[in-house]
């Protein structure tokens, strides 16, 4: 566990330590819940790795993800983004570091796919306004028109998520899987060092599951600015195939953390999932429920 530096509320500095995102003894309890959703979780995430968070329903995976990106404030413990307490950062500062693909999305109006994706560029506005010479400096017109560069970034993100051919269709006319890919494209267009995804493959067909995870893996391994990718998933096979690291959660606790081959073992999985499993080199076979 990396030691966290003292809390600082200043502006973000370049990375001074290997860990991009740190959680230290983090707990969270929903208001009317009997027990905490996340209890005493400590972990440290770096750029250049694909991390899969797995575990049964209600084990606190999504809650942990929302804590990591500052959507929830921990009841105790601390989350540090590049050494800064996440709760002390503005949502704008976080949005320039972490992109989130939530499980539930909605658009109140029938935006086109292109409009949805290019909205990501809005998150860069603050940087331009603050005069830090950020990527979107040209966007700082009062009315917020996107620049040609913004549209180029959005176009590339749409190609990468394979939604470019539906750019002018309404988001309300898409299937669940297509919509999921649009949200991924938007997260890519945010161009943040970290992308957190909550069950991104749940509605995707086989082709797009492999396509998406393969792409995320390549983003984590790119030479310039390797990304930190965190995926909450139920698909243990995809975790084995694509993740560099797996976190196994149960009842709000982090029960195992390590290479997928070491974490996703029958000894670990059987008590957590209450099923009999056999694990091969790149696949998990489920036999039966445990009585």
């Amino acid at each position: 566990m990396t030691e966290l530096p003292p809390t600082s509320t200043g502006s973000l500095r370049p990375i001074t330590q290997p860990a991009f995102l740190c959680a230290q003894a983090v707990s969270y309890k929903y208001r009317h819940a009997a027990s905490p959703a996340v209890q005493g979780v400590s972990l440290s995430l770096g750029c250049g790795e694909v991390v899969a968070i797995v575990g049964p329903n209600g084990c606190g995976k999504s809650t942990l993800l929302r804590l990591l990106c500052g959507q929830l404030r921990p009841a105790s413990g601390r989350i540090a983004l590049q050494g800064h307490d996440v709760t002390a950062l503005s949502v704008g500062q976080i949005a320039r570091q972490i992109a989130l693909v939530p499980q539930q999305t909605s658009a109140g109006f029938p935006y086109s796919v292109r409009e949805m994706v290019v909205m990501a560029r809005w998150s860069q506005h603050g940087a331009a306004r603050a005069g830090s010479g950020g990527r979107g400096a040209g966007m700082a017109t009062a009315l917020g028109f996107e620049t040609t560069e913004d549209h180029a970034i959005a176009d590339r993100a749409m190609w990468e998520a394979d939604v470019h051919h539906m750019a002018d269709r309404s988001i309300h006319d898409l299937s669940g899987g297509e919509r999921q890919r649009v949200i991924v494209a938007r997260a890519l267009a945010q161009q943040t060092p970290a992308i957190l995804l909550d069950e991104p493959t749940s509605s995707l067909d086989l082709y797009h599951q492999l396509d998406l995870l393969g792409h995320l893996q390549s983003l984590s391994r790119q030479a310039v600015g390797p990304k930190c990718i965190v995926i909450v998933t139920h698909d243990l096979n995809l975790a084995l195939q694509f993740a560099d690291r797996a976190l196994l959660m149960d009842g709000g606790h982090l029960v195992a953390d390590g290479r997928p081959q070491e974490v996703l073992t029958p000894a670990n999985l059987q008590p957590v999932y209450r099923v009999a499993v056999a694990v091969g080199a790149a696949n998990v076979l489920v036999f039966s429920r445990q009585k």
């Binding site: 949502v91 909605s106 109006f109 086109s112 809005w122 028109f145 996107e146």
Partner: protein
């Protein structure tokens, strides 16, 4: 679905929206200026460019209609984005009627208080505030009504406001305000009482040019602020989680929009009382024609509202020539808007059940 514009919003497209909006509004305004009371036969409707003496009166009337329509439509755009619901508008949410209550209180009681102390007993600045007429009480009433609606909805649905709860609370507040208007009117001294039917349904009549100018100034100021906030409105209409993860301070954005929408509504109420459904119909038409980007919607919808209400008022003038009565313009918008609201509601039902 026919879409007149799609793709990227750039300066030329944006300016084209303004040019077309201004042009169409100007054209309709010119036509509407030609429709009005025949000065020689007051019971008849005349169709001709009015004489200089009549022109100012007509200009105030048509100008008021345009302003009221624009303000209600702009307010509707803001409220719909904030509630992520195309059914929201100031009348449905009870903001219009709340503002009307305050105006009625002013008309019934405030003006007589002001009249009593008028002769040099109050400072000049206060006198000029009073001279603004109904704009100030309208703004106060609209803000109070929004605060009431959002506090009650907040208490019942938790920290994040449920759009459906808000609509329901708005309906209740609206009914409450309607009753309050009738009650206040029946306990007030006889001499001050306005025509209560007109008051409840919205009308455009005998508006002083000063009030029009003040209300116009108030609306334009809040409109400009709204135009600057428009890119954030696009983000605000996504889910809470998405909006926050894209860096939007949702609470601040909501407060700003509520204040702006209230002020816009108030500028309409000060002139014409609570006119229904303009804030619903116009944003919807513009969304179908030009797309959902709020940066263009906040330009096109107000122009559409102005045109819609000027035409509704022209219809009132034409009807007056046929029947010997003046129908309040609110009747026309409610008759057109009610079914429109129901159709939208039913369409939403079917998409929800898919």
């Amino acid at each position: 679905m026919i879409q007149l514009a799609a793709g990227r919003l750039t300066w030329p497209t944006y300016l084209r929206y303004w040019a077309v909006g201004l042009g169409a509004t100007g054209l309709v305004m010119a036509i509407c200026l030609m429709i009005g009371v025949d000065p020689l036969h007051p019971e008849r409707t005349a169709f001709a460019w009015p004489a200089q003496s009549v022109l100012e009166l007509r200009l105030t009337r048509v100008g008021s209609a345009a302003l009221v329509g624009a303000a209600l439509a702009a307010s509707g755009v803001l409220l719909q984005a904030l509630l992520r619901n195309p059914l929201a508008e100031p009348y449905v949410l009870g903001i219009s009627t709340g503002s009307s209550v305050a105006v009625l209180v002013w008309v019934l009681f405030g003006m007589s208080v002001f009249g009593a102390v008028e002769h040099g007993h109050i400072p000049a600045w206060l006198e000029s505030v009073f001279a603004y007429g109904e704009v100030l009480p309208a703004v106060i009433g609209a803000l109070l009504a929004s605060v009431a609606v959002f506090t009650i909805a907040g208490v019942t649905s938790g920290a994040t406001l449920e759009p459906l709860t808000l609509l329901l609370v708005g309906v209740v507040i609206s009914a409450f305000n309607g009753a309050l208007i009738v009650l206040l009117n029946s306990i007030a001294p006889h001499g001050n009482r306005p025509d209560i039917i007109n008051f409840l349904i919205g009308y455009i009549d005998s508006i002083s040019p000063t009030t029009l100018l003040v209300a116009g100034g108030v609306f334009v100021a809040s409109w400009v602020a709204g135009l600057l906030a428009a890119p954030s409105l696009n983000i605000a209409a996504l889910s809470d989680t998405e909006a926050t993860s894209l860096g939007l301070r949702l609470a601040r954005m909501r407060t700003l929009c509520f204040v702006l929408a209230s002020i816009m509504t108030a500028s309409a109420i000060a002139l014409a009382r609570s006119i229904a459904f303009v804030g619903l119909i116009c944003p919807h038409i513009c969304r179908v024609l030009f797309g959902s980007d709020h940066r263009q919607l906040l330009v096109t919808a107000p122009f559409c509202g102005a045109i819609f209400l000027m035409l509704a008022d022209a219809l009132v003038q034409i009807l007056r020539g046929i029947f010997p009565v003046t129908v309040p313009v609110g009747v026309i918008t409610a008759l057109a808007g009610g079914p429109f609201f129901l159709i939208l509601l039913m369409q939403r039902r079917t998409t929800l059940h898919d």
